[in-house]
Amino acid sequence: MTGAARFELKLELQELYDAYVTCLDDNDLESWPDFFTDDCFYQIIPRENWDNGLPLATLRCESKAMLRDRVVSLRETSLYAPRYTRHLVSALRITGTDDGVIRTQANYCVLETVVDEATKVFNAGRYLDVVVREGERLRFKEKHCVFDSVIVPTSLVYPI
């Protein structure tokens, strides 16, 4: 890949991540699954498990349909205090471009503001992702949110 092509791809990926976290922070959960391919794999997994080869995730979805099920469940069946989230993403890197997929990683930090409480650092970790091109759009084929934060404060309501 030439320097110019790589620069263009980086900008395109930056736009993908910016749009992704804006979608989450706007609480537009109904649009969130569209950032993924139909056969996607999405998980939020403690680093403790990831580093030790333990497969248990805090949240695990194995298709875009499961992402949509999660959104409907959250909206229609779950009980939780109102809250805002704010995602900060940095150090986005392209780590590979083999076999028609783009491998990326980025740091993330989620700030959470629950009603009546001070804003806190809710979750910090890495996105380890596989991105593919579908027509005009880049979509996540895999998204592994590997979090350093050992302990989840109260509950993990919204996706990361």
């Binding site: 403790e48 333990l54 298709s63 499961m66 069946t77 779950s78 205090a81 404060p153 109260t154 993990l156």
Partner: protein
């Protein structure tokens, strides 16, 4: 077992109605918390500390907790299990910082006091001084300064520890009814840990026990659970306890996704709710009998969760009156097929900090603490299903919560 009330440090008396009432000061009072640590977690109780599969080989260790007290679980070179405090006998440093590992000895980083896998002190640097200067007194004996040890019991792959050596044998402590349900999941097969999940919940630790002993809420709060028939008030169910009332099982079976008289009172029920990807809920029967869910609460710090094919230990670690840590260890069996492992991992979406079911509970426990904290003199009501503490063959009861407080009052002298 009951203590005598010899002082006026406590905030008040238990309401005269007995266990059908709960005074809210038990959720926030610092003196109550201190006594709980001493009399319950530090008393004649078997605290859950580990699964045997976490420490299979000589030298293996795990950091854990008994009540709010940090401990270390080890397997020594003879294959024996040991539990001792994670607190150096010298200056009190918490010397073990890794969750799991393997070692020959523990060396406190501060002054390098060294302990073996049984917690015996085996080395003190400069014990004889340097160039005939300093050193420990001549009568200083290593054997007098080992780590405080706890009694240890193990049953079918589950390890418990007690600060009080006079605690009853584990089998007698659990009782026949609890053992029957314990052995249903822990039938002697080798286990496989699938992973951990750790959560900080800003509520009193007892609210976690109340929650799992209370089938009344499960039929109402957990819309997801009820919508899919995983747990509902109109299914054949039971609440069973041991003779003391401190342990309990909520037992039920999966039903249909439908409306009925039992769901008429559920304001949020979604009978039309279907999953686009039904693989999330694809339970298979794996235990004998009709029950598809058994939630077992073992005094003083363990919930054993079997909901369909998701199995977990929920280890309660109190952190002051108004908070606790919940350490989840999800597991299956060593001989699980890959298909079964995947099924367990999918169903784990119902549990843990993001669980489609347990998320409701963590949020509710926080709200309970917010509600009771400012009103310590107010009193809660526990009259669903009557005022007694007997086993029931239905879900519309708070009997197990009342029984828990019956035992709690006895141990606490309240």
């Amino acid at each position: 077992m009951a203590v005598t009330r010899t002082d006026n440090l406590l905030p008040g008396d238990w309401p005269e109605e007995g266990v059908s009432r709960v005074p809210f000061w038990i959720y926030s009072d610092p003196e109550i918390y201190r006594r709980e640590q001493e009399l319950i977690f530090g008393g004649k109780s078997w605290n859950y500390v580990a699964l045997t599969v976490e420490v299979p080989e000589p030298g293996d260790f795990k950091r854990s907790f008994a009540g709010d007290k940090p401990v270390v679980v080890t397997r020594d070179l003879d294959g024996g299990l040991n539990v001792f405090v994670n607190r150096c006998a010298h200056r009190g440093v918490q010397f073990c910082r890794r969750q799991l590992g393997n070692t020959r000895e523990f060396i406190c980083p501060y002054h390098q006091w060294t302990y073996d896998l049984q917690g015996e002190l085996i080395g003190v640097p400069f014990r004889r001084g340097v160039k005939k200067q300093g050193g420990m007194p001549a009568d200083f004996e290593l054997k007098d300064h080992g780590l405080q040890r706890l009694s240890v019991a193990e049953r079918h792959g589950v390890i418990f520890a007690s600060f009080d050596p006079e605690v009853a044998p584990l089998e007698a402590y659990l009782g026949a009814t609890m053992i029957e349900y314990f052995d249903r999941v822990f039938d002697g097969r080798a286990l496989r840990v699938l992973g951990y999940s750790r959560q900080h919940i800003p509520s009193n630790w007892k609210l976690m026990f109340e929650n799992i002993k209370d089938p009344y809420h499960a039929s109402l709060l957990h819309v997801f659970l009820v919508s899919f028939g995983l747990f509902r008030a109109d299914q054949p169910s039971a609440v069973k306890m041991d003779q003391t009332g401190r342990h309990a099982c909520l037992i039920s079976r999966r039903g249909e996704q439908k409306t009925s008289a039992a769901t008429a009172d559920m304001r949020n029920l979604r009978t039309d709710f279907t999953l686009e990807d039904p693989r999330l809920l694809d339970p298979v029967r794996e235990f004998p009998g009709d029950a598809t869910v058994v939630m077992q609460t073992l005094w003083p710090n363990l919930v054993i969760q079997q909901q369909s094919n998701t199995l977990a230990m929920r280890h309660i670690v109190p952190q002051g009156p108004s908070a606790f840590r919940l350490d989840w260890t999800f597991f299956g069996y060593a001989d699980d097929s890959e298909e079964m492992v995947t099924r367990r991992l999918r169903q784990a979406n119902l549990m843990g900090p993001a669980g489609l079911v347990s998320l409701d509970d963590s949020e509710i426990m926080r709200m309970s603490q917010m509600g009771t904290d400012p009103y310590p003199d107010a009193v809660g009501v526990l009259e669903m299903g009557g005022r007694d503490t007997h086993d029931e063959d239905h879900m519309v009861t708070e009997a197990a919560v009342r029984a828990f407080y019956g035992h709690y009052r006895e141990v606490m002298g309240l």
